[in-house]
Structure formats: C-alpha cells, structure tokens
Amino acid sequence: MKGMLHVQFLKFFLSRLAVFIMVVFIGVTTVFFIPRLMPSNPVEGMVSQLQANSSLMDPAAVAKLREVLTQNFGLNGTLFEQYFGFIKRVVFTQDFGPSLSMYPTPVSKLIGTALPWSLGLLLTTTLLAWLIGNAIGLLAGFRKDKTYSRILEGIAITLYPIPYYIFALVLVIFFAYILPVFPLTTIVVGKGLSLQHIVSIIYNSFLPAISMILIGTGWWVLSMKAITTGIAEEDYVVFARLKGLSERKIMTKYVLRNATLPQVTMLSLQLGTIFSGAIVTEILFSYPGVGTLIYNAILQSDYNLILGTITVSILAVSTATFLIDLLYPFLDPRIRYK
C-alpha cells in the first residue's frame, strides 16, 4: 500500500508501542512489588499453614520446605536480583512456577486452561455488544426525531449505568432461584468438538454472556447515538443530501463510516473497564475463566498463581488495546496519509 510507511503512521505506531511497553513495564513491576511490600512473608505463611494442616514435620524437612518455597517464590537474593529474575522468567519463558494450591501443576498450565474460557466470553460479548450497540445507536441517532429512537435511548440510559455484576446478580436470582433454568455454577459436559460439549459450553456461558452483552450494549448505543447526531449535522452529510443521495446511502457510507472512527478509539479505551467487569461477572457465576482463577488464588494465598494470573491479565488487556489502536489508521485515511 503506497504511503503506508509514511512518517505520520510511523509516529502513531511508535507512540502506541511506547504506551504498550510502559503498561507492561509498570504492570509487571507493580505486580512484583506490591506483595513484597506486604508485612507478611509468604513463605512463613505457607509453612505455618502446612504445619497447621498436616501433622508435625521434623525440623530438617521444614527447613528443606522453606528453602524450596523461597526458591519457588523467587525470594532469593536482593530485591533487585529478585526483580530481574522475575522479569526474565515472566517475559522470556512465561514461567510463573508451580501453583501452590494445586502443587505441582505449573501456573502457566492453569492459566492456559482458563484463558480460552475468558477470551471466548470476552471476545464474543464485547464484539456483539459493540456491533449491536453501534447499529442501534446509528439508527437512533440518524432518525432522532422518531419515537423508536427515543425509546431505544431510554432503554440504553436505564441499562448503561448498571454494572455488569449487579445485573449478573439479578440474573442469578431470577434464573437460578426463581425460575431455575440455568445453572449457578459451571459444569461442563462432553469433550472436544462434540455437539454435546459445545451445547454445554453455550448453556453454561449463557447467563454471564447475556449480562455482559445487555449492559455493554447500553453504553455503545448511547455513545454512537451522540456521535451520529453530531455527524449528521456535518457539512458533508448536508452536501451529500444536496447531491440527491438516498438516505440509506448517507447513513451507511457517510455517517457510519465516519462514526466508526471514534467508536474504535472508545473501544480501545474501554477494554480495561470491560475486562474488570468480566472478572467480577466470572467470579459470580464461578465461570472457569481467569477471573475465577484469580479469585481462588487469592482465597488460597496461592502466591505464584496470583502473580501469574494478574500479570497475564495486564498483558492480555494491553495487547488487545495495542492491536485495536493499530487498527485505527486502517480506517482513518487522515492518519494513514499526510
């Protein structure tokens, strides 16, 4: 594509890359330092917990255990040695060590199992909410004097402020207690790509997905409507009408294509918020994704798992944001070419 490597685009790419690197850097550093600022020593906590649960262990075994745990926690050496060791492990080998609550399963394996569930839920619900919300918002904004536009806006106004998990709670109460149609916890049946498995996945994911889609749509409807009404008054839309173009063409080719630009930007900004909401929703439904994994990790003081899941979360969100940011120039020729 001629002009793609234009200076403008390169500057844009570099600036987003800088943010990506900063986010990963600050995120990983924060995740590293916060636990170490805690007053309690995780190794001691672990040791005393094991001693409380099992019968007495002889001092030599306890000492060995302490050594192994310190090794696994990466608590050897000075703070800086630990830090760089951590960075090296995380960035280059994605090794977070073994899970302490499910010893000796490596943390990366646990995350690997949970991640597809979360990604599946997040991707489908975010995309659906964005697409549906934008479509409704476009119609509502383009024909803002019609009654259905006002009704749609009213519904969106009621839906948008409700947090995902509040709605999730309402759904849980409704569907699991009052009309027990959907399960409260996730029990998946079947394996592989069998129909039974797929249906089971959908059945179990339905409630969390619905809560996220419905509430998410609210926001996109509102922002798209606002953007659309703004664009509909722009000179080039008026001129398109003067040229005699059909309303349909104006809506799709002129308004929609221009309105999509700020919506894509908005999407990249909202990813963090959407992800946070997804975590709580997962926990409430005991959905086998990363959110529940974080939750259980914290309940069981599984230090390695905590570090692993949170680091992966930050990495995932920042990568997704970066990718969407990179998508933007392909939609807006003003960034692509001088």
């Binding site: 636990p35 709670l169 709580v280 926990i283 914290i298 930050i314």
Partner: protein, 274 residues
C-alpha cells in the same frame, strides 16, 4: 431550575432522596448499625424494622443507609481528588505542550490501559479483606485521574488556538491568570461532568471489589452489604430484603447519576445555543 430538562429533574430527584436517606438520616442514628447480634435474626419487615433484620442480627434498613453513606463517601472522595488532579494535569499538559505534554500523556495512557481491578484485587486480596477505605480510595484516585485529564487536555489543545487566549497572552497576562480567568469558565462544565462520572466509576469499582469480598469487609458499603448477604446465603434462603435493597439502591443511584450527567450535558448544550 425551570430550564432543566426531564432527565436532569428525575436524576436530581432520585439522587436527592438517596442523599437524604444516605447522608443525613444516618446522622440521627445512635450506635453502630453494623453491630452484630443487636436484634433477632432474620425478622420479616415490620414497623420496628422497616426492611427486617439480617442474618447477622442487624437492622437491614439502617445497614443499608450506612452503606449508602459510605459508598457516597468513597465516591465523593475519589471524584474530588481525581477530578482535581486530572483537570490540573490536563490543563498543564494541554497548554504547555512539548515534552511535559508527552510525558504526562504517556502516563495518562498507561493508567488508562492498565485494568484497575486486577491490581485492586491484588492489593485487597493480600490484605485479606482488611484494606481500609482510604487505601482503596487512594488506588481508585490513581487510576481515575487520567479520564478527566484526557478530556481537559483535548479541550485545552483546542482552546489554545483560539484568539482570545492569544489576546490575553499578548497583553502580558501570566499563564496562571490566563488559566484561571479565561479558561476556567469553559472547564467548569466539563469538570462537573467528569466529577459526576468519576463518582459513578468509583462506586462501581468499589462495589465490584466488595461483591467478591475484596474490599474493606469490616465497613458497610453497598458492595460489602451485598457480599455479606451472599456469604450468608440470603439468596438461597429467600431473604430478599437483605440482598435486594442494596442491589436496587445501587442501580437507582447509578441511574440517577447518569441522568444528571446526561441531563446536564444537554442543558449546557442548550445554553450554548445548539
């Protein structure tokens, strides 16, 4: 007030009800509403206990009010400081430009991308539910100042081009005077919108944390109230007042805040002559 549109009126009305119930009424309550075992457990609503009692022997109604009070406290605290910091940094960044702008923007973007909840969960989880309201508020402030900053910066960038700023500059006014006298009127309406939005986000994030037990569990906030209710099987036992009232309260508070936000934006657009 007569020029207020319907959204604004409804929003303020609902919010006012909650403010009266949540902030003013609890001042009249003697004693600690979240004290356990004060009343018999699980009573149905009656004239003595309007919403009944909880599984912990508390009067549901007064726990609810205390929760509203605390949630508002967190919301207002975070909103105040986040908006203050955000507006100042945003204006500084937008007006000065150059390297200062680049650095602040980079920090802004970084904190926007990092999802706050995992970090909050990490913090709260390690403190095992004993995180104080203040520490959670602090983290919320750190993660929420970029949003108003971003908006104010964009505004500052456009305002910088406008003629009346140049006029002030060329007639020798100091940067500070320019910022406070010429720019501030524009910024106030945006700051108000950001303030209200941040209240919303703060309460939403804290309640999200609380619902999964990662907030300051000793304190009563709307989120922790829901958490306690879930922990004590309020849903399974059908104790709808205990879990239902905070859910309804949160929903209504959010709707009212949003209506005020949306209504005030329409109002200022009207005043600008759109």
């Amino acid at each position: 007030m007569k020029n207020w549109n319907l959204q604004l009126k409804i929003g303020v009305f609902i919010l006012a009800i909650f403010l009266i119930f949540g902030v003013i009424l609890p001042l009249f309550y003697t004693g600690n509403p979240i004290e356990w075992g004060k009343f018999p457990k699980n009573l149905k609503p009656s004239s003595a206990h309007i919403f009944g009692t909880t599984n912990l022997g508390q009067d549901t109604f007064w726990v609810l009010l205390k929760s509203i009070q605390n949630s508002f406290f967190i919301g207002l605290l975070v909103a105040f400081f986040a908006t203050l910091i955000g507006v100042l940094l945003g204006m500084l960044s937008g007006f000065r430009g150059g390297i200062l702008d680049r650095v602040i923007t980079l920090i802004m973007d970084t904190f926007i991308v990092i999802p706050s909840l995992p970090i909050l969960i990490l913090l709260a989880g390690l403190l095992k539910g004993r995180a104080s309201v203040l520490s959670i508020s602090l983290v919320l402030i750190i993660f929420n100042w970029p949003w108003p900053a971003r908006q104010v910066r964009a505004m500052a960038l456009t305002l910088r081009e406008r003629d009346f700023i140049d006029t002030a500059l060329f007639s020798g006014e100091s940067t500070f005077k320019i910022i406070t006298r010429e720019i501030f009127p524009f910024v106030t309406s945006w700051s108000l919108a950001n303030f209200i939005n941040t209240i919303l986000v703060a309460i939403r994030t804290e309640s999200g944390l609380a619902v999964i037990g990662m907030s300051s569990n000793e304190q009563a906030t709307l989120g922790t109230m829901i958490y306690w209710a879930i922990q004590h099987q309020a849903m399974m036992a059908g104790r709808w007042w205990w879990i239902g009232s905070p859910v309804v309260a949160i929903t209504l508070i959010f709707i009212s805040l949003f209506l005020i936000l949306s209504g005030s934006q329409q109002y200022s657009a009207l005043r600008r002559g759109k």
